[in-house]
């Protein structure tokens, strides 16, 4: 019964994290970059939104501002990587660290800024889960439609090819560096948007929000794609799968909490989920690879270059 009572909250929070995971999907799956700046930008989104609401801004403006702050964070990571040649992982870590200071200064050197749900007409709040689910759902639908339209434009297709095959992309006249910046900007913008929703839902922005967000995002992606690729491996179905992954993740999360797991271990739980989803396909491959006879083909004998064996 307690589990059923917790379900609407799990769905609402799962939707928000699913939206965040869509942002991660763009960097991790489309651009093929593990962008760690999202841990910072989700918090930035929450901080911007909370502080603006506290200063009396309308809620829509605060949400848009949060999105734009995320876009800037993404551009920063993109430039560190593309313009200054810093490896993507490190560029993300640097931005994450920069954002910690930025977030503190946005919060006015406090560790927490509360949002008063009575003073603001919030889009969502934990006191009203049905409304939260509808609001988050509508925003997610809008985001998925916009992304679907964008990724089938001339520019959008080049973003896909940039992550899929940078050599081919350059040969076809695509500015791979610029595309990475654009992709990271969109990704972090969506993550910060999710951050602004999360802050509203929880009624506060905390400087420690978002720690480990990338792992939750990846968990949602792996859970979602494990199902959606079996249905139809296209873009929109993948995105819907990721949202579903976020919800499933939060249902598991709530379930485990109800079973009595100490909340101290929750982050570890997230990491274990991701590790399992990465390890299982790998171990499966290893196991089946051993059973196959060794076949020497012409092309494998001629191609000593490696890397192209997964034909």
């Amino acid at each position: 019964m307690a589990f059923l009572n917790a379900l609407p909250g799990a769905v609402a929070e799962g939707l928000i994290w699913g939206l965040m995971a869509i942002g991660v999907y763009i960097s991790y799956k489309i651009l093929d970059i593990a962008d760690l700046s999202v841990d910072g930008s989700i918090c930035t989104g929450g901080c911007v939104c909370a502080v603006m609401l506290a200063n009396g801004s309308p809620v829509w403006l605060s949400v848009v501002a949060a999105f734009l702050a995320g876009v800037l964070a993404g551009i920063l990571t993109g430039l560190l990587h593309s313009a200054f040649g810093i490896p993507a992982i490190l560029a993300g870590i640097l931005t994450q660290l920069i954002l910690y200071s930025v977030n503190l200064s946005i919060l006015g050197s406090k560790s927490l800024v509360a949002i008063d749900p009575r003073a603001n007409n919030l889009l969502l709040h934990m006191s009203n889960n049905p409304r939260s689910i509808v609001s988050a759902g509508l925003i997610i639908i809008a985001v998925i439609i916009l992304l679907w339209l964008f990724f089938y434009t001339e520019v959008g297709l080049t973003l896909k090819s940039t992550g899929d095959n940078p050599d081919m992309s350059r040969a076809q006249g695509i500015n791979v560096k610029l595309n990475k910046v654009i992709g990271l900007a969109i990704s972090n913008g969506i993550v910060a948007l999710a951050g602004s929703l999360l802050a509203q839902y929880k009624g506060s922005a905390n400087i420690n929000d978002g720690r480990g967000a990338i792992v939750i995002g990846l968990a949602a992606i792996y859970i979602g794609l494990s199902v959606s690729t079996k249905i139809k491996p296209n873009f929109v179905v993948s995105l819907i799968g990721v949202i579903g992954g976020g919800i499933v993740y939060y249902i598991i999360y709530n379930f485990v909490v109800l079973l009595g797991l100490k909340t101290d271990y929750l982050k570890m739980l997230s990491a274990i989920i991701v590790a399992l989803f990465l390890a299982v396909p790998y171990l499966k491959g290893e196991y089946f690879a051993k059973k196959q006879p060794i076949v020497i083909t012409d092309s494998s004998a001629e191609n000593s270059t490696g890397g192209d064996v997964n034909a």
Binding site: E154, L157, M168, A171, E302
Partner: protein, 265 residues
């Protein structure tokens, strides 16, 4: 069409691994030249093609394509002049994207890409017809992911992509080396057809002496980062492999060594 003047490139300069790949390379191609390139191990063939494509900047020298100095132009900007097919069939196409999407990206090489629909309806029809000319049955698989195709099919699609928007210069870097002999000859046949139909200026590296002689109107042989043999016209038509090896030994003062070439002779 292409003018390379005194091109030099040393990799890892100042270290024990320093390797001079190009040492004062000069080459001029006329409009419509189909040049086959052959040479020993580490002669600088691929290095030359990469220099033209702009994969990195040369230490000195200039490269002009159709009168435009492209020496300092970044790779993606130079692409407007170039069609490229790589040795590795995996390198020329985007595996996780549909055949039609790959072609549509290639069709827009050198043009500003906008926020408009990525593939128009009429294009699909055009691609269908083009794919039908390959006779690989791809015309019914426009929406298939390229990653599902075989190496030969991918190389054929890459050739189409390289020529879909007519390039000023077509660069083929041993594009049949990774294919089985039957597929290789099919892809070469297609290459001849596309080059002739579109009257393309072409540089084709090959490790197969027969192919080097049988294709194109001009043959160059490279050694230690320079061109040491350059035959064209009637002389090239009559060329035999032993003559070619003789020419090479005379010009370079050393024996021809390329394991791949010797094995495929």
């Amino acid at each position: 069409m292409l003018k390379i003047t005194n091109l030099q490139k040393t990799f890892n300069p100042g270290t024990v691994n320093a390797k001079t790949a190009l040492s004062g390379l000069n080459l001029t191609l006329e409009d419509g030249d189909f040049v086959t390139v052959i040479g020993g191990n580490g002669a600088g063939k691929s290095t030359m093609l990469n220099a033209i494509a702009g994969v990195w900047k040369p230490d000195c020298g200039t490269i002009e394509i159709d009168g435009v100095d492209v020496t300092n132009m970044p790779e993606h900007k130079r692409a407007q002049f170039l069609g490229r097919v790589f040795q590795d069939p995996m390198k020329g196409t985007s595996p996780d994207m549909e055949i039609a999407e790959n072609l549509s990206i290639a069709a827009r090489r050198g043009t500003k890409r906008k926020l408009v629909w990525g593939i128009k309806k009429a294009e699909r029809e055009q691609y269908k017809q083009l794919l039908a000319t390959l006779e690989l049955g791809l015309e019914t698989r426009l929406s298939s992911k390229v990653g599902l195709l075989s190496g030969g099919q991918r190389q054929a699609v890459t050739l189409l992509m390289a020529t879909l928007k007519r390039p000023k210069l077509l660069l083929l870097d041993e594009h049949t080396a990774a294919l089985d002999p039957k597929t290789a000859s099919k892809v070469l046949e297609l290459t001849d057809k596309l080059v002739n139909e579109n009257h393309l200026t072409t540089l084709m590296i090959t490790h197969n002496m027969h192919d080097a002689i049988a294709h194109g109107n001009r043959l160059i042989m490279m050694h230690e980062g320079r061109i040491v043999v350059d035959v064209s016209g009637e002389e090239k038509k009559k060329l035999t492999i032993s003559q070619l090896l003789g020419l090479f030994e005379k010009a370079s003062g050393s024996e021809f060594t390329n394991d791949k070439v010797m094995l495929s002779k």
